[in-house]
Symmetry: C2
Subunit: 156 residues, 2 copies
Amino acid sequence: MAGLTVRQFREADVPALLTLMKALARFEGYEDDFRVTEEDLCLMGLGARPAFGALVAERQGQLEGYAAYYIIPFTYRMRPTLVLKELYVSAEARSVGAGRQLFEAVYAVAAEAGAAQMEWLVLPDNHVAKRFYKARGRFQDQAWERWGLAVRAADQ
Amino acid sequence: MAGLTVRQFREADVPALLTLMKALARFEGYEDDFRVTEEDLCLMGLGARPAFGALVAERQGQLEGYAAYYIIPFTYRMRPTLVLKELYVSAEARSVGAGRQLFEAVYAVAAEAGAAQMEWLVLPDNHVAKRFYKARGRFQDQAWERWGLAVRAADQ
């Protein structure tokens, strides 16, 4: 949309980016376990070897949304996989194309990195998100099931 | 079991480790896209900042199985997630506890790394694997659906 810019985040964005991350945590129900601080975002996202990347959508000097991702370098294809970790647009800015622009910008990052695939998780009852992805021709992976467990600290 | 040692892989293991990785690729049906070489394993698994780790199960000087994993450092909890990428035991050495020992050793790596969770993918029709995990109290993650798409190279 007009006036909306999507770009990599920088240090000045950190407070607003953290606010958006907290809003997503609230929306997706993991707010109580959310521990990320502004310092974490600087150290882990803006250093020489960032552990994640984040694109932000800015309009009239305000951050309206973000997409956080990380890249898995070792795969059986020897081409990286990009994991879209979080995609969020503020309530005020939905339906103006920010989500689409962020998603397509992350896709471009994946392509630039030489990734063979891009993947992400969706809450089963998030029908708005599912419609968004389906409209772009992306579907649930039926080929593999995801299993997991909680890990107790080594000293317990 | 007696005589079975589980330990981190080293350079001398690389040819046998690659053979086991190819066997798993055949078993899981991605053999045609498998591109990993011995050099890749050395460069990406044994350097100063490894992109993955692998534990091997050795018996009488032979590698009988392996578990490959990687660690995702940035999560909303600010505690890493360990992804068990591959777990494989040669046909000859199944039912002797190698899979269990490898799985438990990876769990210990996750705990040492301070991970809050460990996760992996299972083929829906791999009932032997599902029984193995269920017997250890691990279940399919029903909370999130995994979505994804193939990425085309940037220059296409």
